[in-house]
């Protein structure tokens, strides 16, 4: 099991563009969470998907949206990119079978907005 995988590894966009990031969860996991990690900070929760629906959302604008597919993989979309969206975007998966399930993280996608 490769664990949580994310693509692409790096991405460079310009302001105003749109971006899609992808995540495949660990085998056997059905819940995917997305986090934004700005330089020098800890990860910040964006949202979580379970059974193809957004279950929880952090304090991020509607420009950030997501999707979960029947195979539990997920996408994070960001519209109208701002310079401040430059960050490492982390995906984490968990089993979703109970409370406080451990989340396993992917390697991240480094997004640079110019």
């Amino acid at each position: 099991d490769a664990g949580v995988t994310q693509s692409p590894t790096h991405l460079i966009k310009t302001r105003g563009q749109q971006v899609t990031l992808r995540c495949s969860p660990k085998s056997g996991h059905d819940t995917v969470s997305w986090y934004q990690q700005a330089l020098g900070q800890g990860p910040q929760f964006i949202f979580q998907y379970y059974e193809e629906e957004e279950r929880q959302r952090g304090n991020f604008p509607d420009r950030f949206s997501g999707h979960q597919f029947p195979n539990y993989s997920s996408e994070l979309n960001v519209n109208a990119l701002l310079l401040g969206d430059s960050a490492l975007y982390l995906c984490a998966s968990s089993s979703g079978t109970g409370v406080a399930d451990t989340q396993y993280f992917g390697p991240g996608t480094r997004l640079t907005v110019l």
Binding site: Y35, Q48, T102, F105
Partner: protein, 110 residues
């Protein structure tokens, strides 16, 4: 609102010295607390969580609800412990989102 504070950005110790990475939280409910570690060029990985009460790689952490702390400790630091350490809180009654501290870099010198 829930918050996790790691007061030290950098902790530098000599090999064999004791290590204590501080973590304080603010939360009114019953928290689930975690320590995650990120070694150089590796992904964020779980080190330990308080509910399991395990000792991983010689590290332990005790939840002190009175002081709202979850400090990470190891009696004898090793060079391979050098990494970034994040303390995180999970609010289980509002789903399983993690709230992270800003992290502490641990540098173990030989």
């Amino acid at each position: 609102a829930q918050r996790v504070t790691q007061p030290e950005k950098l902790l530098s110790v000599f090999k064999g010295a004791p290590v204590e990475l501080k973590c304080n939280y603010s939360y009114s409910g019953s928290p689930e607390l975690f320590w995650y570690v990120q070694y150089s060029r590796q992904r964020l990985q779980l080190l330990l969580r308080h509910i399991s009460r395990e000792s991983i790689k010689g590290f332990t952490a005790d939840l002190n609800k009175g002081e709202t702390s979850f400090h990470l400790k190891k009696p004898f630091a090793q060079e391979e412990d050098s990494a970034m350490y994040y303390c995180a809180l999970m609010r289980v009654e509002y789903g399983n989102k993690l709230v992270f501290g800003a992290g502490t870099i641990l540098r173990v010198k030989s």
